[in-house]
């Protein structure tokens, strides 16, 4: 009983120690302090931003990553000219072309050829065309063909296309004559066979 009384008085004593009220302006001060705080962040907003950033970084990395093409070991790389443009390739003349060697495969470092495009305004624009892999003998043959055309050795005029709308003329066929076949003489053959020994 004394113990319980003791506990109760003890608790009252502690309660009286803690019965302290904050100042009247305390709540107002807390409100002002909270008002100074930035707006609480939404957790999903920060997560969305983080994910979007990560995706953007991955896409940029994939785009910016240098692509490694396999080195052409048997062929020569030259840039492909555009047919629709006036292109003057800097190719050696036919006379200076090296003779075809018996060695079918040459291992040379591909050297892209610079192309100069001449426009009507006397401007020369260098175009860096993408490299096209071609066999060396094909390159040489094509250069020879181009040079020959330039020197007008070949008539490269394209024949006119036939007029599909024009009426078709059908010539009359010659009359059919009966065929006469002479009868086959069998007796002579038989006699000749009988005369054999």
């Amino acid at each position: 009983m004394d113990e319980q009384m003791n506990d109760a008085s003890f608790d009252r004593e502690i309660e009286s120690l803690l019965a302290v009220e904050p100042s009247p302006e305390f709540v107002a001060r807390v409100r002002a302090r909270v008002a100074e705080e930035p707006e609480p962040r939404r957790w999903w907003t920060s997560w969305t931003l983080a994910v979007a950033g990560a995706v953007a970084v991955v896409i940029l990395a994939v785009i910016a990553w240098p692509s490694r093409e396999p080195a052409a070991s048997v062929t020569t790389a030259i840039p492909a000219p555009r047919i629709s443009e006036i292109v003057e390739p800097v190719t050696p003349p036919i006379a200076s072309l090296p003779p075809a060697t018996s060695q079918a495969v040459r291992r040379e470092t591909p050297t892209p050829i610079a192309y100069a495009v001449t426009t009507s305004g006397d401007r020369v624009i260098d175009i860096d065309l993408p490299a096209v892999v071609l066999a060396e003998n094909e390159v040489r043959t094509f250069a020879t063909l181009v040079a020959s055309i330039r020197q007008r050795r070949f008539d490269v005029a394209v024949p006119a296309a036939p007029d599909l709308d024009a009426p078709i003329e059908i010539k009359e066929l010659p009359p059919v004559e009966p065929i006469e076949i002479e009868p086959i003489v069998k007796l002579a053959v038989l006699q000749a066979e009988g005369e054999r020994p």
């Binding site: 502690i14 309660e15 120690l17 302290v20 100042s23 305390f26």
Partner: protein, 185 residues
């Protein structure tokens, strides 16, 4: 599309307003509790108000992320208690650095009559005994002493079973009595 966006934005505004209103309600109902928890450690009104204020600011920053809003008081109490302990340690370090004797007599004010002197001495002894308790026992005895919290309320605030509160209260009282009797010898 724009209507959807407007609808979404208005929803967010509504949610923000609801949160602000809810926090205001929590502030009104828990301000004295936070202050008293801080005061039980610091025993200086200004310091206790500062700490309680910072605890509320911290609670506000994370209020949106608090899933169980019913746990706000428990959350605030633990935060205020920890922050008060940190402040007390910082104050002690500062006093040691400045070479000032930290006497409780000066804090409790000037006593004029004999009864007041005795009451202040008793209060000082009790505070010193509470300070000497381990943190777990100290928080239980303080929370039980604030606003007449019963065992269940203290258990809810500390998120522990009722039996744990009972045993901690028993141990705390025992240690306080022993220490006070030792002081009175």
């Amino acid at each position: 599309m724009h209507e959807r966006a407007d609808c979404l934005a208005s929803d967010f505004v509504t949610v923000d307003e609801d949160l602000a209103r809810e926090f205001e309600a929590r502030l009104v109902e828990s301000s004295t509790l936070a202050f008293r928890v801080a005061f039980s450690v610091l025993r200086q009104r200004e310091d206790a108000e500062d700490v309680a204020q910072e605890a509320f600011a911290k609670a506000y920053r994370s209020f949106r992320q608090l899933r169980e809003r019913d746990r706000f008081r428990a959350w605030l109490v633990r935060m205020a208690f920890r922050m008060a302990i940190d402040r007390q340690r910082a104050n002690k370090r500062r006093l040691v650095r400045e070479g000032v004797e930290a006497g409780l007599q000066a804090r409790l004010g000037s006593a004029t009559t004999g009864d007041t002197v005795l009451a202040n001495e008793r209060a000082e002894q009790l505070w010193l005994a509470i300070d000497a308790l381990p943190e777990k026992l100290r928080l239980v005895i303080v929370l039980a002493g604030i606003q007449g919290h019963d065992i269940r309320e203290v258990a809810t605030l500390l998120d522990v079973p009722d039996g744990t509160v009972k045993s901690r209260l028993f141990l705390a009282r025992q240690q306080l009595k022993e220490r006070l009797s030792w002081m009175n010898r």
